[in-house]
């Protein structure tokens, strides 16, 4: 047992519970992650104590809440190295962020006959909002395909971006394939043609270091709950120039400058896109969540554990992750057998510890139900990526996605359970 991972696990109370009378093995981290104590205590403190509406009042309590809310914005800015606070818009999640851009950007920049280019490995959240938006203007969706390994056919990108394409939207890492996409290259090719790029970073932000200035993407979105923070909160990073040109998405309080019945002027960024009372508590949890992640990545001096340097934690987590990846990849093929894994990049370093697969002649929901009885939480079904699964001829799949607190022992139990389930079903 890895001592450091064990210490990390102690920070996540949800991990020590039982499910169906067995110790919980939580392998659905791509859907949502568990929360560390620092996040949980901030949630409690802000709900029960520092609870006052932000940006609106002169009294001390409101000021304290606003400081935490705006502090989180600054922490997000630093975490992704955005130039200014104006670039960081708080939303209710990655889905809301993409909907905001799809609606507002397409309204401003698309006309009849124009198109949006999306990648074939997209989550439904990066498909449907664009469909809704292009439908309104009479435009269309174009798709950048994936090859049989699950890698984007990047060589087709240049020819796919014709003069009608007004924006490219793709995921940093697909929630099914777990492959780190070559987003730097995508941004470069699109920018050479003067087309902006949105990156769906819901999975990417968790596993990769993101520097939006170096990457030069125009939009980057992610959800707080997938990165160890609270649910109902998310981020939209956007370039200031574009955000300023885009019309507001929703109207309401806090997003206005002056309101007259004849004409209203809008607040400057970022509040222009934050109508109504924001989820200030959820958004504030980004501070402890990102700080925790920064410590585990070894990017912060201030120690997570008194007697261990953050660099040591980082090394240990990386090693465990590599061990899990190697073990699961091998065991699926050689111990479970008859397994088809979706997402096999030529360079194995491009794969995160996320495995979507099917076992021959076994339905994914049957396997998931048996694993549930064994205390193992994994995902089954269409996983919000129906077109992608159809591409691989599947009507559903299983997915095990690992996080920093998962251990090799858990991975071993997961494989044993799969073997057992397969035997029961055959």
């Amino acid at each position: 047992m890895n001592v450091i991972i064990n210490k990390i696990r102690e920070e996540f109370p949800a991990l020590s519970q039982q499910m169906n009378g067995k110790n919980l093995i939580y392998l659905d981290n791509a859907a949502t992650t568990q929360k560390p104590k620092s996040v949980l205590s901030l949630l409690e403190k802000m709900s029960g104590e520092i609870n006052a509406n932000v940006h609106r009042a002169m009294y001390d309590l409101s000021n304290k809440a606003t400081i935490l809310y705006e502090g989180a914005r600054e922490d997000v800015r630093k975490f992704i190295n955005a130039p200014k606070r104006e670039n960081i818009i708080f939303t209710s999640g990655a889905t809301a962020s993409i909907n905001l851009v799809a609606k507002s950007f397409c309204e401003k920049f698309l006309k009849k006959g124009d198109s949006v280019l999306i990648a074939a490995d997209s989550h439904h959240s990066n498909i449907v909002p664009w469909q809704l938006a292009v439908e309104k203007v009479g435009g269309e969706i174009k798709v950048l395909p994936v090859d049989s390994n699950g890698e984007l056919c990047i060589e087709q990108l240049n020819s796919l971006i014709d003069s009608k394409v007004k924006i490219v939207a793709c995921s940093h890492i697909s929630n099914i394939l777990g492959i780190i996409n070559p987003i730097e290259e995508i941004v470069k090719i699109a920018h050479d043609k003067g087309v902006p790029v949105l990156i769906d970073g819901a999975q990417g932000i968790v596993h990769c270091k993101v520097d939006v200035q170096e990457l030069d993407c125009d939009f980057y979105v992610f959800s707080t709950h997938k990165i160890y923070g609270a649910t109902g909160s998310g981020v939209l990073y956007g370039k200031e120039e574009l955000l300023n040109k885009m019309p507001p998405y929703m109207g309401g309080g806090d997003m206005v400058d002056t309101v007259r019945f004849e004409k209203t002027t809008y607040a400057p960024l970022p509040l222009k896109f934050e109508a109504g009372t924001p989820n200030f508590i959820g958004n504030a949890t980004l501070s402890p969540a990102l700080s925790f992640l920064d410590c585990v990545r070894g990017n912060r001096e201030e120690r997570l554990f008194d007697n261990i340097e953050n660099k040591e934690i980082s090394k240990s987590v990386k090693k465990e992750e590599e061990n899990i990846k190697e073990f699961v990849y091998q065991a699926l093929q050689h111990d479970v057998k008859d397994v088809e894994i979706y997402g096999n990049p030529k360079n194995p370093e491009k794969k995160i510890p996320l495995f979507s697969f099917n076992i021959k002649n076994c339905n994914s929901s049957d396997i998931a139900q048996i694993l549930d009885k064994l205390g193992i939480a994994i995902r089954s079904g269409l996983m919000c990526a129906e077109p992608l699964l159809n591409r691989f001829g599947a009507n559903g799949a299983l997915r095990a996605s690992f996080a920093m607190y998962n251990t090799l022992e858990e991975a071993q139990k997961f494989i044993e359970a799969l073997v057992k389930a397969k035997k029961m079903l055959s």
Partner: protein, 142 residues
């Protein structure tokens, strides 16, 4: 036998299982034994789509009694389907409409019928009742 009597028979059969594994194995075996639906009945029209698994269902009437044929791509779902069919097959439309099923809960499988499990089973029961309603109306008009 009445619907209630068949339900009680199933509850009795399941009472021998102490271990969840034995119970699931039994359901899996039932799923394997389920008479397959005719391939030509596996139409879009007869499909009940769930995110987790798909269910096909069709119904025939013989001498005032209803008979159901079903299939699913998930074997546990299929096993539960076979229990449902056992309960409803050969019953009248009237009795099916009046039936208030409780055996699924009694044998500890109620989570499979919860709306949060998108496996098509809940919709299947609704569809069975709809078939019964349709046949009842049809017979009334004849």
């Amino acid at each position: 036998m009445t619907i209630k009597e068949i339900e009680n028979q199933i509850i009795e059969e399941f009472s021998v299982f102490d271990e969840w594994m034995d119970k699931y194995q039994y359901i899996i075996d039932l799923g394997k034994q389920l008479t397959l639906i005719d391939e030509k009945e596996k139409t879009e029209e007869n499909l009940i789509k769930g995110c987790q698994s798909r269910v096909w269902l069709c119904c025939k009437e013989e001498e005032g009694k209803l008979f159901f044929f079903a299939d699913s791509d998930a074997i546990i779902t299929k096993g539960i389907i076979s229990l449902l069919i056992r309960v409803f097959n050969g019953q009248t439309a009237e009795d099916i409409l009046n039936a208030d099923l409780n055996f699924i809960k009694e044998i500890g499988l109620e989570s499979n019928l919860s709306p949060t499990r998108s496996n098509g089973l809940l919709s299947m029961i609704k569809q069975i009742k709809l078939y019964a309603l349709a046949y009842k109306e049809k017979n009334k008009n004849n």
